[in-house]
């Protein structure tokens, strides 16, 4: 295996009695877009700050391309950070901000000017060089922060919720732009966010954190399709968690005694939670239209919500209420509240979780 861009070994960070990061191990591959995802206070920002050298681990080792960082100060590390609030220097122009890192590294003036120009072009801010950060919009400030970090050609770029302060439309546009820039420059991005959608859209791999621990590290699709714990399943996207017991390999018995086929490797008798995403459920009037190998559960619609692009149904199965989501497409049948229905889902869509 090649040397990881960032290697984290047994890293713990304590603030007094509070354990912010609890003995984590993590390898971030060179050139990948890696996201640290979790609720606020889960330790993701602390982890990022430890890579940057803005905090030192209480215990453990952090390497960048194999080199031990130890207690090295941030200015001696080959990484740069895009801060949550951008942290642009208000007393300097856009060009001054972007040039700062190069000037501190005593790069020649000619090269500094050239690279600053390139970086400003890269983030499409040409013509704004002499403005002060205070005169820029949030999105523009965000790009200055990005240019200011990228201009130094760091081995790893650390981004701390960089899009958090932007409104939805701008955030979505910036997500694409960030991803494109990352492909263009080929630098390893370590991206901290609490927005699961953002993480799914942008990342090659995601690490889900909670309470200072890494719950799952996997490619985006795997995190969504095959979460390994209830926490990950619930945190990423919307889902239904249905309790049951494994009755025989591949079959789970629900609380009302009905049997469904599901993805499980647990032995018979194990208590499990079925993870079933709303969009994986198809609603039908009768069983006849449902393919043979699908699971079928009868229930009634207890509520319908119109979301524009989709319709949300709350389906009452007696022992549990499940959310189902149907895309709002022409020809799709709509169900009224109170209507009896049969819900169908593929056995692979239902995943039995034990933790």
């Amino acid at each position: 295996m090649t040397t990881p861009a960032v290697g984290i070994r047994g890293v713990t960070k304590r603030f007094g009695d509070v354990v912010a990061v609890d003995n984590i191990d993590l390898d971030i591959t060179d050139g990948e877009f890696f996201s640290l995802l979790g609720p606020s206070g889960c330790g993701k920002t602390t982890t990022l700050r430890m890579i940057a050298g803005l905090e030192y681990p209480t215990e453990g080792s952090i390497t960048i391309h194999g080199e031990e960082m130890g207690l090295r100060p941030p200015n001696k590390r080959p990484v740069n950070t895009v801060f949550q609030s951008y942290a642009l220097f208000p007393h300097m122009t856009v060009a001054g901000n972007v040039a700062f890192g190069l000037q501190m590294q005593k790069i020649s003036e000619d090269e500094t000017n050239r690279r600053v120009g390139e970086a400003i072009d890269l983030v499409r801010l040409s013509g704004m060089e002499n403005r002060r950060p205070g005169m820029l919009s949030g999105g523009q400030q965000q790009r200055v922060a990005l240019a200011r970090a990228l201009v130094n050609r760091p081995e790893v770029l650390l981004l701390d919720e960089p899009l958090g302060a932007l409104d939805l439309k701008l955030r979505q546009a910036m997500q694409l732009e960030l991803k494109e820039i990352q492909r263009e420059v080929g630098i390893t991005f370590v991206y901290v966010t609490h927005d699961q959608e953002e993480a799914l859209t942008m990342s090659d791999r995601i690490a889900v954190m909670n309470d200072g621990q890494l719950l799952q590290v996997a490619p985006s699709e795997e995190i969504y399709e095959r979460p390994n714990t209830r926490f990950v399943a619930e945190f990423i996207g919307e889902t239904n968690l249905i309790t049951g017991t494994v009755s025989e390999p591949g079959v789970v018995k629900l609380e009302d005694g009905s049997l469904v086929r599901a993805r499980t490797h647990s032995a018979a008798g194990t208590a499990v939670t079925l993870n079933l995403r709303p969009e994986k459920i198809d609603l039908h009037n009768t069983e006849e239209t449902i393919p043979e190998h699908f699971n079928k559960l009868s229930g009634t619609i207890s509520r319908r919500l119109y979301f524009g692009d989709s319709l949300f149904y709350e389906v009452n199965f007696g022992h549990t209420i499940v959310d189902a989501r149907e895309e709002n497409r022409p020809g799709r049948q709509r169900f009224e509240e109170g209507a009896p229905i049969v819900a169908a889902f593929h056995p692979d869509s239902a995943q039995a979780l034990t933790e």
Partner: protein
């Protein structure tokens, strides 16, 4: 109230309501206006007028035979000029020293935990609970023949009693005005966005470079405010040099008092007072301007 509280609003009614609002504001400020007019602006005008007045044979100021004699004296009289120069140097050095000592201290306070910060700020302000005159007399004891500081200097073989010398005046002024430097500096440093320092460190700045390129320029408002708050009272200082200084260390403030109370030369005292104010004004404006540019 001018308008009926109920009923729809028209542009005219809105304008009237706004006018009433601003009249209420003036009413609140009126006591201060009156106070400033009678106790600040009027005396200033009197001083200004007396600068051009003449004196009777007994020294009584006379509001006739207007002349420029006392103004001319500011530029020609060697004594006035040397005292003025000495006062300027004292004020500049006191300000510089307060800044050099005050900045690190203010930085230290601003970077403590909140509890510690408040405690330290109380310590900075405790001296104000005692009368300035009393505190200055206390220095007279400390710096005097058998004073603690004198004894220490003799023990170390470094200095003897400094009382009635220029160093004593410096000690007294710096002691008295340091809080005026520390407090605005503290306010400026405390307001600083620390993520900017982190950003600078992240962008390869050493601790010192981050301070020089980010902390210092972003706290310049505090530096300017503190410097002005120290410079102005230092230039016009009277009590400290009067109590701790000697005849050879007369500063401009003492000179003014002498003109009014001893020499009975009101026109000269007035014109020197005006000159001090002009110098303060010029220095302040210059400092603001250059501060805005260079820092």
């Amino acid at each position: 109230m001018t308008a009926k509280a109920d009923g729809p609003v028209t542009a005219e009614l809105e304008a009237r309501a706004e006018k009433a609002e601003s009249r209420r504001g003036l009413f609140l400020a009126l006591p201060s206006y009156i106070y400033l007019l009678f106790l600040f602006a009027l005396p200033l005008v009197i001083i200004g007028v007396y600068s051009f007045a003449s004196r009777s044979r007994t020294g009584m100021p006379k509001l006739e035979a207007w002349n420029l004699d006392s103004i001319t004296k500011l530029f020609t009289d060697d004594l006035v000029r040397s005292i003025f120069a000495r006062s300027l140097i004292v004020a500049v050095l006191t300000t510089t020293f307060c800044l050099l000592v005050g900045y690190p201290f203010a930085y230290y306070i601003a970077t403590r935990s909140e509890k510690m910060r408040n405690l330290l700020l109380v310590f900075v302000m405790i001296p104000f609970w005692t009368n300035f005159l009393v505190r200055t007399y206390a220095w007279r004891v400390l710096l005097g023949e058998d004073g603690l500081i004198t004894e220490l200097g003799r023990f170390l073989n470094l200095w003897d009693s400094m009382l009635f010398t220029l160093p004593a005046v410096y000690i007294g002024l710096i002691y008295g005005f340091l809080p005026f430097m520390v407090l605005p500096l503290y306010a400026a440093i405390e307001r600083l966005d620390w993520s900017l320092i982190e950003a600078a460190r992240d962008l390869y700045a050493s601790g010192w470079e981050a301070f020089r390129k980010v902390t210092l320029p972003l706290t310049k408002q505090g530096i300017i405010a503190g410097s002005i708050l120290v410079f102005i009272p230092s230039l016009g200082a009277y009590v400290t040099p009067d109590i701790l200084g000697g005849a050879k260390t007369t500063l401009i403030g003492n000179y003014v008092v002498n003109q009014f109370l001893t020499a009975r030369n009101w026109p000269l005292g007035s014109s020197v007072s005006m000159a001090i104010m002009v110098v303060m004004l010029i220095a302040t404006i210059w400092y603001f301007r250059s501060g805005a540019k260079t820092l």
